[in-house]
């Protein structure tokens, strides 16, 4: 373990400033991400799980340098990516690529597939002929015919488009892929195709993945370790096996319960409403919906603490919960 992690987030935070609500009102701000730290080592997948608005996509944007963090730092192979020289940034652009959720929006509708795939290479200075040869190779890797290069995105189905998006991401031989819900918009059977492709790629090319998703089964399929986000904060982090099998945080427990195939309807009903991002609750952000919440939760925001050797959790009461509720969560997704 002497090698520096491929990517490491240290207390990453992002606050968005909103326009003034009124002339005399103060500017309001929304904390999208707060104090998120994780590190991912080579060849593994780190999954980030959360519902909409949990800040997981903002983390992805920061990893891709599309957003600047307002606090904390992001380190890639030992280098602070927000303190890079132009040359280092170019190198980073080669190192990191991404696949987005929407297979329709991710491909420029006026470009042929070949050009789309070649674009990152061309932007990095690869010459036309080399790029062209590589496109054919990449198409083959993602399981498509080389003729596809001359077609436009609308001529492909959703799954095929996502394959093209993956080919494009792979074109510059990245070491890290940020996968932001890459299969959420796909049909079940296509989803399976793309997931197997991703897994195959990782095995073949030794890639590191950051996989963002809300479907626990899918995250579990790819990830070695998982972080669970709620309202911009990591509430639980650890190995996928441990976190998704024996969740320590009440929120994770709910998520896992909901995903359980045989769980009856309403088994994991959450009380209360989502907190208002403009006016978050004091202390633990989850306390408004948590049945274990008490005065401590309202007073003090819990820090991540070790819950098991493979697992850290931000809950004041996780020991008590673990002791009392072992039976509540079964194994995730029994075969049908």
């Amino acid at each position: 373990m002497t090698e520096a992690p491929v990517i490491e987030a240290r207390s990453l935070g992002k606050t968005f400033i909103l326009p003034r609500g009124g002339l005399f009102e103060a500017r309001r701000s929304v904390i999208a991400v707060e104090d998120v730290s994780f590190s991912v080592s080579r060849g593994t997948t780190f999954g980030i799980v959360g519902e909409s608005g949990s800040g997981k996509s903002t983390v992805a944007k920061m990893l891709l340098k599309l957003e600047r963090p307002t606090s904390g730092t992001l380190w890639a192979e030992g280098q602070d990516i927000f303190a890079q020289t132009a040359a280092q940034e170019r190198a980073y652009r080669r190192m990191v690529q991404t696949v987005f959720q929407d297979p329709y929006g991710a491909l420029s509708p006026r470009m042929r597939a070949g050009r789309i795939i070649a674009e990152p290479m061309r932007a990095q200075g690869t010459d036309r002929a080399t790029a062209k040869a590589k496109v054919a190779q990449l198409l083959e890797i993602v399981g498509m015919q080389p003729e596809a290069a001359s077609r436009y995105p609308h001529e492909f189905s959703g799954g095929q488009r996502q394959r093209i998006a993956i080919a494009r991401a792979l074109s510059v031989d990245p070491r890290l892929l940020v996968l932001d819900e890459p299969v959420s918009a796909l049909d079940v059977s296509v989803r399976a195709q793309v997931l197997s492709l991703l897994q195959e790629m990782q095995a073949r090319l030794g890639l590191t993945y950051i996989f963002i998703g809300h479907d626990l089964a899918v995250v579990r399929y790819l990830s070695e370790s998982v972080g669970v986000m709620y309202f911009g904060r990591l509430v639980e982090i650890g190995t996928a096996r441990q976190v998704l099998r024996r969740p320590a945080h009440p929120y994770t427990q709910r998520l896992v319960a909901l995903a359980a195939a045989k769980a009856p309807l309403g088994a994991a009903r959450l009380q209360g409403e989502l907190p208002n991002p403009l006016n978050p609750p004091s202390g633990c952000l989850f306390r408004t919906r948590c049945s274990y919440a008490d005065a401590l939760c309202a007073a003090k925001r819990p820090e991540l603490r070790e819950a098991s050797p493979d697992q850290r959790v931000a809950c004041h009461h996780h020991e008590a919960i673990a002791a009392g509720n072992k039976a509540e969560t079964g194994p995730l997704l029994q075969p049908a």
């Binding site: 003034r20 009124g22 002339l23």
Partner: protein, 304 residues
């Protein structure tokens, strides 16, 4: 809502400032008004005196600053031609123009909105094709041509309406019809397009599966949703009407701003050009500001 208005007003003010530069430069670029204002017998001394009197001999930027200072104190200068304060001439002319543009707008809405709705509900029918033809013609026929034809037809061949002039109710008919023909064409098309879109929206689909009567769906929900872009467009249309009035006013000898400004431009009557163009622009911008505010009233999402 508050900051939205303030921002819009701020933008409007900056735009106005730019506009004064634009108008001022344009007016000065038209050339020296002296030969147009002075008769041929005038001596060089007379001409020089004229230029000095109106400050036309000074450098342009100085003239602009004087102009700006004066309009800030409400002084738009005196018409070179009529020796009246320019703003008085413009104010006297703006009434007829507003009446003409306003009535035409009203007429255009009265014609265009129902036609557009009906066409949207009968997509692909003969009726829709006829409406399309009407709108196509309305957009393609230059309004001076329409005006002349109307005069030929309805005041010379069949003497029903007065051919020109301003005053009685009858005088309004031909100019308003001329302008409204053009304006109603685009109102029709716009209503049509937006109604079609509104009728395809999910909430209309939802209302249909809930068995809400068609009348309510069309007139309450679809129309109100379609009206948002229509209202915005009507604000822009008002500017087009003000512009269209320039030509229409000329055909019908309507004593409005359009005629005034054309005449003033041709005679290089800078103060009148500046005052009338500025006032028209302010009017147009005010209308659009109001439209934006109205939008905020109509659409609860804006004020959130």
């Amino acid at each position: 809502m508050g900051p939205f208005i303030l921002k819009r007003i701020g933008q409007t003010l900056i735009t106005l400032l730019l506009l004064t530069i634009l108008i001022f430069t344009l007016a000065r670029l038209t050339g020296d008004p002296t030969p147009l204002v002075m008769p041929s017998e005038a001596t060089d001394a007379d001409r020089t005196f004229f230029r000095e009197q109106y400050g036309l001999d000074r450098p342009l930027h100085e003239q602009y600053l004087v102009f700006l200072r004066n309009i800030l104190s409400g002084d738009f200068g005196v018409s070179f031609r009529y020796r009246e304060p320019a703003m008085n001439l413009v104010l006297a002319a703006i009434g007829p123009t507003l009446q003409l543009a306003g009535l035409s707008m009203l007429l255009a809405i009265i014609i265009g909105v129902p036609l557009g709705i009906a066409a949207a509900l009968r997509q692909g029918s003969w009726f829709a094709a006829i409406v399309r033809g009407y709108a196509g013609l309305g957009q393609a026929m230059p309004s001076f041509w329409v005006g002349l034809m109307l005069i030929m037809l309805l005041s010379i061949t069949l003497p029903i309406f007065p051919s020109s002039g301003y005053g009685g109710v009858a005088n309004f008919v031909l100019p308003c019809v001329t302008l409204a023909f053009f304006a109603s064409a685009s109102v029709t098309l716009l209503t049509w397009a937006n109604m079609t879109e509104a009728m395809r929206s999910d909430f209309v689909q939802m209302e249909r599966v809930l068995g809400i009567p068609n009348r309510l769906i069309v007139l309450k929900h679809a129309l109100r949703n379609a009206s948002l872009p229509i209202v915005t467009y009507l604000g822009l249309q008002f500017g087009l009407l003000l512009g269209g009035a320039v030509v229409t006013e000329r055909v019908f000898a309507w004593p409005g701003v359009g005629q005034l400004v054309v005449e003033a431009i041709l005679n290089r009557d800078f103060p009148v050009v500046q005052a009338s163009v500025l006032l028209t622009a302010v009017l147009f911008m005010t209308v659009n500001l109001c439209v934006d505010l109205l939008y905020a009233v109509l659409d609860p999402r804006v004020s959130a």
